[in-house]
Amino acid sequence: MDILQYTDEHKAFRQRLKTFLANEVTPHVDQWEKDHIVPKEAWQKMGKKGFLCTWASPEYGGMNGDFLYSVIVAEEMAKTNHTGLCSMLHSDIVVPYINSFGSDEQKKKYLPDCISGDIITAVAMTEPDAGSDLAAMQATAEIDGDEIVLNGSKTFITNGINADLVIVAAKNPAEENVYQAVSLYLVEDGTPGFKRGRQLDKMGFFSQDTAELFFSNCRIPKENLLGQQGMGFMMLMEKLQQERLMCAIGGQAAAELMLEWTIDYCKTHTDASGKPISKLQANQFAIVEMMTEVKLGKAFLDQLIAGHAAGENVIVETSMAKYWITDLDNRIASRCLDLFGDFGLTEDCPIARGFRDVRVMSIFAGTNEVMKGIAAKFMGL
């Protein structure tokens, strides 16, 4: 009994995407992992085929797809076992800010290129000393005539190197109420005073260009304010729900993928007696237990997706899904590796990359501890 009802159109779209990924992404993944970046052409190819910003209006070149199209892309991308071509962040987290809060001019200027993949986007919230605590933000934006002057630094910025357009959160230093001080600004690549720091050296997510961004007297036109002055915090809060939901969707697909590989390995590898190791009772129980957790996650997530798509208030459930599923990823990665034995300690085992990659999911988009705090708050505890 499926909770989500995919139409034939959805299914055909998924099939086209699978074919595209098999031809244009999977063969390059190992190289991208070595390069620690994905070439911009890959983004453009994806855009041209209609796989970016599937929800966007035809007015800008989009296909006006419902939320299930976003789900499909997130799931299938996760199954390419790499994180560099981070279309989910672009399509379902960053560009929606422009779509929801941008002026008509901004939309006309940016959306078509966002949809075609000619513009890659990023969002710059997190700062070195603030982490998940948005209220501790230090970056400033001051008005100077017709311009806005940005100063500050941001870190852990996904697509940080590739990004052509960055949504930057910064504070008005004159506003004392921190919740009314933050605004969002659009900063284009090449703006003087906007510099990218080094690509951060990390445990996994090798193909993803996570970077630091620096703004020093970076001047942008006033028109680059996104949405209303002082509403940055509200806009971030509003969009964070979908961001976290997308993390959960990607995490769910990753868990399914790792387990699928492991089951396949256990069925096709034998012990010294020639028996497939999937026949060992301890391995069977391990697989059943992991599969049960995967199915639990799936049912909960599907129900949540349906609720989110219907516009329900699902903040508690989204926080729960984000924390539980990304924790599940870590548990599954570790437990699957055990079934591979020493081979699992080499990068030739695909789960090794998974083990390194999923470890950050319980940290980004708000740590899982922050998720539990949000759930507690909205449960009235």
Binding site: M203, A282, G341, L345, E347, F355
Partner: protein
């Protein structure tokens, strides 16, 4: 019972800590780990100062101490750095087979070089399609005149590409029982040896795995370690000893990650408070500390059993499994406490985490340890 470290143990612990603090350089370690290399100079210094062969007998230039002291150094080194610490203390991997069982001549020829850090040793035990079950070893060593002629393939040999000697488990008898195997020392570089498939590692990156193929490799008869036919049993004995060492490694790995997390949460502020003031942070640290403490005394007890000839395979498996699980749980939580920084290479805990996984899987993942423990706990059924 007396839980006090004696004077010499305290001194060893202190010396190891001072050496590691003085010599282990974070940047160098991170850089060399990427290249999967061990810093030669530190290896040699560790040897010169007596750390590597601390548990070797004095006749081979060893420290004449017990495994307990080796475990203390493992713990201390890995606390300072999990990757380098393990690489140093396991640079003599499987040389214990020679130490415990070898003829005098063989010991004197080989072990001093291991002890002083000039020779990396390894053991070649696993074969394709056998899992961890060594009862069906197919690599053969046949006597030919005064020599052994070895044929076969070993996989996932730690430090396979850097070791100067391999302790190889071979079938030396047509008898297909476990009594038909022997351990034979093979020097790297002999004709007929090929080393390939050097893998990028997930953890323990200073000890890369490689496959080693032996094609009519000829070694002198005196390279036999222990008695002919004793190879399977001696290998199991070595695994028992090694698992205790791994427990020490895991313990230090856990402690090192804990230290870093504790430092971090004491200085980092979020939401207007130090992280260390949040009850949930406090409880995580309490949990981590408790787990380390429990793993510590189990590990020490097990090392003590070894030195007092009370060791059984299952005790070593318990210590290894428990300490490695502890290392996984503690390093995992340490990453979480550091948040985004925990995922970044320069904050170190990410490699402690990967090294913990190495400790958990190497020499048998939990299921293998449980098989061993259960054999002993349940015993023979009527």
């Amino acid at each position: 019972m007396d839980f006090k470290l004696n004077k010499s143990q305290k001194e060893i612990q202190k010396a190891a800590w001072e050496f590691a603090r003085g010599e282990f350089d974070k940047e160098v370690i991170i850089e060399l780990s990427k290249e999967q290399k061990i810093p030669d100079n530190i290896l040699k210094k560790s040897g010169e100062l007596g750390f590597i062969g601390i548990h070797y007998s004095e006749d081979v230039d060893g420290g004449g101490m017990g495994l307990f002291e080796h475990v203390l150094v493992c713990e201390t080194f890995c606390r300072k750095d999990s990757t380098l610490g393990a690489a140093l203390m396991f640079s003599g991997y499987a040389a214990e087979c020679i130490l415990r069982n070898g003829e005098k001549d063989l010991k004197e020829k080989i072990l001093p070089q291991v002890v002083d850090g000039h020779l990396i040793s390894t053991g070649a035990f696993l074969e394709p399609k056998q899992g961890y079950d060594l009862t069906q070893v197919r690599t053969t060593a046949e006597p030919d005149g005064d020599d052994w002629v070895i044929n076969g393939k070993k996989i996932l040999v730690p430090s396979g590409s850097t070791a100067g000697i391999y302790v190889v488990l071979c079938r030396t008898d047509a008898d297909t029982s476990t009594g038909g195997m022997s351990l034979i020392l093979v020097e790297a570089g002999r004709d007929g040896i090929s080393v390939d498939n050097v893998s990028q590692k997930l953890g323990g990156r200073m000890m890369p795995f490689a496959d080693i193929t032996f094609e009519n490799v000829r070694v002198p008869g005196s390279n036999l370690i222990g008695k002919q036919g004793s190879g399977y049993a001696l290998t199991q004995n070595f695994f028992t000893e090694n698992r205790i060492q791994i427990a020490g490694q895991a313990l230090g790995t856990a402690q090192g990650a804990f230290d870093r997390a504790l430092d971090y949460v004491k200085q980092r502020e979020q939401f207007g408070k130090k992280l260390a003031q949040f009850q949930i942070t406090r409880h995580k640290l309490a949990d981590m500390a408790s787990k380390i403490e429990a793993a510590r005394y189990l590990t020490y007890y097990t090392a003590w059993c070894f030195d007092n000839k009370k060791i059984e395979a299952q005790q070593a498996s318990m210590a290894k499994m428990t300490a490695a699980r502890t290392a996984m749980e503690v390093t995992n939580e340490a990453i979480q406490l550091l948040g985004g920084y925990g995922y970044m290479t320069e904050y170190e805990v990410e490699h402690f985490f990967r090294d913990a996984k190495q400790a958990e899987i190497f020499q048998g993942p939990p299921a293998i340890q449980k098989d061993i423990i259960a054999d002993s706990v349940i015993g023979k059924l009527k």
